[in-house]
């Protein structure tokens, strides 16, 4: 779902530790999911994606897990670095009532890496 108000969930992690960011999505018909990283003053940047026929996908230092039963996504970042500090959004890709593919963003999480 989408966040309301100005207060993003926050997560602080010691540099070098692993972090897990969670996201609940709303549409059971969504078939494709993306994690984005957004740094201050920049647009969302693609990190990793996963299709609904998978439950896990790994990239470089990142892993996405998908649990369709409870409509839940998680992003795991291994060995966090200062450059990982940003706001992270999950987004679900689904077909709208107009027939077009549509991205719906979920609640963002502000990740802060503590040196």
């Amino acid at each position: 779902g989408e966040s309301v108000g100005l207060h993003l969930p926050t997560l602080s992690v010691q540099e070098g530790d692993n972090s897990i960011i969670n996201c609940a999505y709303s549409n059971s018909a969504s078939d494709y999911f993306i994690w984005y990283k957004q740094e201050s003053g920049k647009g969302p940047q693609f990190i990793i994606d996963i299709r609904s026929n998978m439950d896990k996908r790994q990239g470089q230092r990142v892993t996405v897990l998908l649990n369709k039963t409870v409509k839940h996504l998680s992003l795991q970042i291994a060995a966090t670095q200062p450059g990982d500090s940003a706001v992270y959004f999950c987004a679900e890709n689904s077909r709208s009532n107009f027939g077009n593919e549509k991205l719906t963003f979920g609640t963002g999480t502000r990740l802060t890496i503590i040196p």
Partner: protein
């Protein structure tokens, strides 16, 4: 390849004034999106173009917002008259074709609008 270009980067206007934002998508990208991102929230789709035609504008406040994509390349988003609640970052994104799961989405850096 060059990314999605947006201008201006920042704009401050008084309420009831008008403002326009410009987006130049990645060359060859047929699908263009405008998103509104209010502080502390995820981006929300305002309008989607396929070439120069509107595919989805269901979330666009049409009494004050308008958008066009002449010749299927650059796009302009306009607000007239602006309200305080329009303060947000306006993001443009593009995709090679409809179907972000195949072609992906690329976002610009956005225009930060402050209405005072």
């Amino acid at each position: 390849e060059a990314g999605v270009a947006q201008s201006p980067r920042y704009k401050i206007i008084e309420k009831r004034q008008s403002v326009a934002f410009w987006c130049n998508p990645i060359s060859g990208h047929a699908t263009l999106y405008w998103y509104q991102q209010i502080l502390g929230q995820g981006p929300k789709l305002l309008i989607q173009f396929q070439n120069n035609g509107v595919v989805d504008d269901s979330q666009l406040p049409k009494d004050r917002f308008s958008a066009e994509r002449l010749k299927g390349v650059d796009s302009t988003l306009k607000i007239q008259p602006a309200k305080l609640e329009d303060s947000a970052v306006y993001l443009c994104a593009s995709s090679l074709a409809p179907g972000g799961d195949i072609y992906g989405y690329t976002f610009g850096s956005g225009t930060r609008l402050t209405v005072v």
